[in-house]
Symmetry: none
């Protein structure tokens, strides 16, 4: 009879525990000499045995590592449903995920694309390979995801952007970018070299799986359409979604489900 109860509890448990686990970790950055907080969401299917894909999910300007989990709690279900780990690093409010030429204390390109990836591969049972790594984000984080993936295609196999600042040049006075790159007026070369739209030459057809979207009422709409057209011109395959909506969490809570569906398709086929 004890056994019976035990089994009932086990079965029930299979349902009860069917929920992703949320950890907050502190990953050390050697290049910045500090620990950086990251939210890690493990799917309920995570058992430490099977290698799991990882999606790096970046926040926007003025945000932090808790933005996504707070504003879109459904990402836990998505992690479960797709059996993926989702990691949300802190992007230091306004780092733009750069190794900033004008501020040596900001080295978030190195942190996310190398140090955090190494941390995840060391501490979790991950697919240690670009075929199991995706990166996406919103706004500043959409810029960041494309910036890091275009430059580090050996690390990431699939990249997304939601309402991303995929060209920063039209916004020379905004969001403290000039503290990182210098003013556009005096250092145009830094702005040219660090705008996602100017890194298209790093791509070749299907070298990277790409999805991005933007709302028609978003102030970043035009730069996303421009990137779409440039990619079409260069013959770089990509998914591009235009939707109703603006620069809001309503928009991103919808968008993220499509981005993750795209990444799941990628993970399902990339290693075959």
């Amino acid at each position: 009879m004890k056994q019976l109860l035990f089994i009932i509890l086990l079965c029930a448990g299979a349902y009860i525990t069917k929920a992703a686990t949320v950890d907050t970790i502190a990953a050390h950055s050697d290049v910045m000499h500090k620990d950086i907080a990251c939210v890690v969401i493990k799917p309920s299917s995570y058992d430490g045995k099977k290698d799991v894909p990882v999606v790096y999910l970046l926040h926007g300007y003025s945000g932090n590592q808790r933005d996504w989990i707070t504003e879109v709690p459904a990402i836990k279900q998505y992690a479960d449903q797709d059996s993926i780990i989702i990691v949300c690093p802190d992007g230091n409010y306004n780092s733009w995920y750069f190794d900033a030429p004008m501020d040596s204390t900001v080295r978030y390109e190195t942190f996310v694309s190398k140090e955090l990836v190494n941390y995840m591969d060391a501490h979790y049972k991950t697919i240690k390979d670009r075929a199991g790594r995706g990166i996406t984000g919103l706004s500043m984080g959409g810029h960041g995801a494309f910036y890091l993936a275009f430059k580090h295609q050996d690390i990431f196999g699939v990249a997304g952007s939601m309402s991303g600042g995929v060209d920063i040049r039209p916004y020379p006075l905004k969001w403290e970018i000039s503290k990182l790159l210098g003013s556009y007026k005096e250092h145009p070369e830094n702005w040219e070299a660090n705008a996602d739209i100017n890194l298209v030459h790093l791509l070749t057809p299907n070298s990277l799986a790409i999805i991005f979207d933007c709302g028609t009422d978003d102030f970043f709409y035009k730069v996303n359409v421009a990137l779409h057209e440039k990619l079409l011109y260069y013959g770089i395959p990509h998914d591009f979604i235009v939707r109703p909506g603006a620069h809001t969490w309503d928009y991103w809570s919808n968008s993220i489900s499509f981005q993750l569906l795209y990444m799941k398709h990628y993970f399902d086929t990339a290693r075959k």
Copy 2:
């Protein structure tokens, strides 16, 4: 001990039976005096108690009701995952889902939008309401889904199109359309009146939830871009996805998962 086994079987059963059911039904059309074969996919969660949303999924030119289930068996999982019924009617090879002005034996607009909907509502535990009805399809079926939904917004709440022939006028000699509408040269008014792109005046902002997509290598790419631009011009909110790909089942087997995700979001929020 018997009980133990029983419980184990029960628990196991919860997993084993988790599979959609596929019926082939014959729905009678009064207006065409014939039975029409349809494939109906019920989700595993279907219990005859809870009202379930229905997605009407149309095939392309030269196809039949079995195309989708044969070419994309994964739609059974999608029906399960989203707890929706999917119905694939036979579209008579080349009906274009018209009540054809030049061929009174072709009345597929009436069949799909009235007779089949009534059949489904009578024989299944459906949400008997536009908030629980979606319609989508590929190519000729993409045309059909928009054609029926734009004209019958009282019936359908959400509409999709994949690689749809959303403007038929550039193809006056193709796919037997002229047998249904008369030649474009002699009956331009029929072509003008029955092209999806010319029915945009029937829409008002958010009167219908709309998603459509097309591959950049598809011969229908230009008409889809044209519809997207017209909808933008008219301020009609819609999701539009441009992807790599052509007029192939590879394309549609990917596309359908995004279309159903969109419809699931619609069904989840439409009745609130």
Copy 3:
């Protein structure tokens, strides 16, 4: 010695007489009860034995049958070089080559496409067949050439337009068009039905060989670009040339040589 001289003269003559002949004829119009002056240019190779292609060459608003021969005398050389007959009918200053719904005395559609064609076939050794008939013109005559050729593809095999008024709707108050069609305000249906750009449904791919051009500084530039884009959208093959230049004889004296080269290629291949 006489013979010698005779032969020398003959040989010389072969060169001397190598010049097109210009006739002015009066072709009767039954429907308008009047004779209409036309300039006919016969190539030097014309011998009354071999069937020759004919190009109908229309003048612009405020012009007459002598415009082309006066302003571009080189068309005689082109007739020679290509062994074609060129006919320039009088278009009554401002007929727009219509059978005008608002002025029954204006029936230039019938005159040019039927009566004049019959006259030419009766009085000259022509190719009596669409494969040997081209039509082009400038401005009002570019409109006219497309208008007549789109509607009478049984008569004309190749059509051109130079700086043509290929959409008249943007010019409701100009060039006395409203005397022919009624005002655009009160009779929009006449304007819609008689604008070249609205006759594209009469074309199917390669049903008519089409060439047109316009100068970038021409006030008709935008309507020509619009027609080009509509033809691309409808998949109707055509040659379209954008050039520097405005609404001037400098422009047309250059343009006509390219139009005739195109027509020569058509005549050379159409009857094979």
Copy 4:
């Protein structure tokens, strides 16, 4: 009587000999230390007395100096008709007519624009002046013609391109361009500096007579439309022709006759 026969033969001869002469010459390149084969077509009117214009006609990728004369024998008639010399140099299969920064053995810019021009002026009775020199070509040769003419406007007065690769950047992995310029990923500066579309700043209005064309089904269609739009934006007068057709000799055998007609008009007026 003998005289009579002689005169008859002379007269007849005037017709019989009316045919262009085709030489194959070997022009030495000092910079590449080798002889380079070129086909030279002299018009029948060439008499060594009158200065004659020269059109340099370039082949495409994987071709050689015999491509044009073999595939389009009618260019002999065109040379006759227009009284021009046509020269077809060997472009070394894949030189792209560059002085290649990554391969010092490839110096075809210098060869065509300096050494071959000097050879032609030394060995033939040419107009030794930009007003008597044109250059055009197909595909790689269209790129080459614009590349050389934009950079050497002191040498060439008129330039054409047929289906030209007028922007190479979208094709970083194709046609061995990366052997000449380095990979686009590592040497984007070479690609930027050597794409025709990026040399527009070398032009001023009417500094060079320009004609180019492309088929709507050509893979180079989009780059040609892009160059057309850039030239319009910069106010550089040019003739641009869009036609039906793809990357085929059918297309080019038609195109070349329009290109040469344009060049003839240029030669007729440039020296006045």
